[in-house]
Amino acid sequence: MPKSKSAYSVPTKKQKSDTYIFVVWVDNEAGVLARVVGLFSGRGYNIESLAVAEVDAIKNISRITIVTTGTPQVIEQIRLQLTKLVPVHKVAEFKREDKNVIFKEMALFKVVGKKSKIEKCLNTCKKFNPVILDETKSSAVIQITALRREIDIMNKKLKPLGLVSTSRTGAVAMTRGAQIFN
């Protein structure tokens, strides 16, 4: 081992990282998103995707869904650190492989080309409930909802068919069945 010249210890064994989805219920107030996101950047956690909107206008509650990766130790820290924030009410986390949880993202594709190409696009997206939101003689905006990697694949497949612009949301999550998270 080379001699360390640092006053700090050197990093040693690394654990395996997994992808997790965090759902955070927060007071919908100024700066709350900055607090949550700042915690991630400040402590070196990463954010793969983020979705946030108010879900209860009366109680003034917003729901933030964050996709992140980390070792089990880091994931536990993220949960505990989030819980400490004053405007945070509760925190839930799910492994991406969790069968009891539904994850969905939405994407909008703008395709420019002849009718036939647009038809082909729709056909390619068939599995993901494509909806045409706008149509002209030479273009269409198609909406699909799917998993992240499915949208990645569609994005690739539609490129040669005239896809010129993609807009997509972060993942949102909901548990299956009658149970809710408390």
Partner: protein, 588 residues
């Protein structure tokens, strides 16, 4: 119709309701309405500092020595940015601070107005929480909430940013509501099972060690009493972090001294070889653990802490008890006493062998140093200071560096809240303003800042504050003309390339003392040292003590970076011995 109050009046009504007696601050354009209101509230005394960082550290010293939250009042822009270092320091060391900052009027926010800055944005990562008041009707609730957040759970700093127009605006005052439980942020939810589990571990242990930290101090004097009771019930050896010093008597035989990078040989070896490690209110800081993979490899680990996010953050533990140290320890003690009355069995005999081993380590006398009668050794200076002040209930603050470690090693604290130092952030320049705050909280007590000449120059301007308020603080400077700890690292790790660590053109501290209007004392000769220290103690007023010490002295023992606890570098006596041994071997 109920009476309407201005924002400035509401601020003071809240401070009065919170029983605040002192605020540390510096006026400026955006807080003038609050300063205007000050005269109507004689129960609150304002301490005018010379720099906002000084206000923050003074409030920290006040809070750490009294157990009450420190209150800081600064203006917008530079006032707020100057206090950021102190807020971060308080955040790292869990010190309750409430900082009130002025802000430009609401309609100018976001326009790059004069002395505007995004205060809540800048202080978000260094406070437990902060608020920007946009509606005068929120002010009284937020002020009370600010005190609650700062002082409950794991304490820490908070900031309330109040635009100038809000300070003029009028609203009803809402009284302090009696504790409503909020968000489940108050953590005290350990169970009987946890306690029983711990008792089992305690009974089984053959090589136990208690490792206590700043959490014991933060939990109040009762927690220190409970810690002492636990130690006497179990007979376990106990070591402490830098921040935990004083929770357990430093001169007690059960105390192994401080642990960690500059901890004692016996404390670090006990940590490494133990079979039960009980962490009480400490956070496995990297200065404590050394190499994580080889940290205390054979032990069951127990962690008692009020902050759930401290658990398993660095070191995986076998048993976690989340709760206030004081209440957890009391439960443990009660359970032990009860079970002892039941079967009368004590495990003190189980650990007799362990104590024998510890005594062997102790014989190394790892804090030793080669004294001199020509130059003052810094360790000797701290030892003499201790001997001459130990009967006076002295409060000690420090700056950051070698002198800080020597103070921690050689000054023995017997009571909590007597030791104020910047541990987590390691802020040079902490000690002098902290001493100001301590003296405000304890006007009759002896307050000494054990300082280094480089650190103390960072906040030297606060001597004026000490003079203004007749605060008889003693600034005891171990002057070695180097940034000593930097020099030490350069000597040991960077081939003695002393890059920029020599303090060229130091001021004459005697003349400086004279310029500020306080007493200056200079000591160069070890033979005069006692007499001069006594002169400092006896002088009724602030003193700058320029103690010229050996510039080449290093701070030992020391765990080099990336090494576990049992691979320490010991002091020169020991190194000498080893050298001779090596040569001796070659001759044979």
């Amino acid at each position: 119709m109920p009476k309407l109050y201005t924002g400035a009046e509401i601020v003071f009504k809240c401070l009065e309701d919170q029983k605040v007696e002192h605020i540390f601050g510096y006026p400026g354009g955006a807080v003038l309405p609050i300063y205007d209101e000050l005269k109507n509230h004689p129960s609150i005394k304002h301490i005018l500092v010379r720099h906002e960082q000084g206000a923050g550290h003074a409030a920290e010293g006040y809070a750490r020595s009294s157990g009450k939250p420190g209150v800081v009042l600064v203006t917008s822009g530079p006032g707020a940015t100057n206090v950021v270092t102190a807020l971060t320091d308080a955040y790292m060391d869990s010190v309750p601070l409430v900082c009130i900052s002025g802000q430009v009027p609401t309609h100018l926010i976001g326009t790059d107005a004069f002395q505007e800055c995004d205060t809540t944005g800048i202080t978000r990562p260094c406070t437990k929480h902060n608020w920007l008041i946009k509606d005068i009707n929120d002010l009284s609730n937020v002020m009370h909430e600010a005190f609650r957040v700062a002082t409950t759970g794991r304490p820490g700093p908070v900031l309330v940013d109040i635009p100038k127009d809000i300070q003029f605006a009028k609203a009803k005052y809402k009284n302090l509501k009696i504790e409503k439980k909020l968000n489940g942020k108050l953590q005290n939810k350990f169970s009987k099972n946890d306690i029983d589990e711990l008792i089992k571990l305690i009974n089984k242990a053959r090589k136990p060690v208690i490792y206590s930290g700043g959490g014991v101090i933060n939990s109040g004097p009762k927690a220190s009493e409970a810690l002492r009771e636990l130690a006497s019930l179990t007979g376990f050896p106990i070591t402490s972090t830098l921040q935990g010093l004083g929770a357990f008597p430093g001169d007690d035989n059960q105390f192994l001294g401080m642990l960690g990078m500059h901890g004692t040989y016996e404390a670090n070896n006990a940590m490494h070889d133990c079979d039960l490690l009980i962490n009480i209110g400490a956070r496995f800081d990297d200065r404590i653990t050394g190499k994580i993979d080889e940290f205390s490899p054979k032990s069951k680990k127990v962690h008692i802490d009020i902050d759930p996010s401290s658990i398993n953050k660095i070191i995986k533990v076998d048993l976690a008890i989340v709760g206030d140290v004081s209440s957890v320890l009391n439960r443990i003690n009660k359970t032990i006493v009860k079970s002892k009355n039941g079967n009368g069995k004590s495990n003190k005999s189980n650990i007799a062998k362990w104590w024998e081993q510890i005594e062997k380590w102790r014989k190394k006398d790892s804090l030793n140093f080669i004294n001199s009668d020509e130059t003052i050794k810094p360790q000797h200076a701290v030892q003499r200071l201790y001997e001459l002040t130990k009967n006076k209930d002295t409060y000690v603050t420090t700056e950051v560096g070698q002198h800080q470690m020597w103070a921690a090693q050689h000054y023995k604290f017997n009571k909590p809240n007597r030791w104020m130092t910047s541990g987590g952030l390691g802020t040079m320049g902490y000690g002098l303003p902290a001493a100001v705050g301590v003296q405000i909280a304890h006007p009759e007590k002896l307050v000494v800042d054990i300082a280094g000449e480089a650190s103390v120059l960072m906040t030297m301007q606060e001597m004026s504050t000490a003079i203004q308020y007749n605060l008889p603080i003693k600034i005891f400077i171990l002057n070695n003309q180097y940034m000593g700890m930097v020099r030490q690292w350069q000597e040991l790790l960077h081939e003695k390339n002393y890059s920029e660590s020599y303090s060229e053109a130091l001021p004459d501290f005697m003349k400086m003392a004279e310029a500020y209007g306080c007493k200056g004392i200079k000591a160069v000769n070890p033979l005069d040292l006692d007499e001069k220290i006594q002169e400092m103690i006896d002088y009724d007023g602030p003193v700058i003590f320029d103690c010229h010490v050996d510039p080449n002295e290093n701070c030992f023992p020391m765990i080099p970076s990336g090494k576990p606890h049992n691979q320490m570098i010991l002091g020169p006596n020991d190194q000498e011995e080893n050298k001779i041994k090596g040569k001796g071997k070659a001759l044979v």
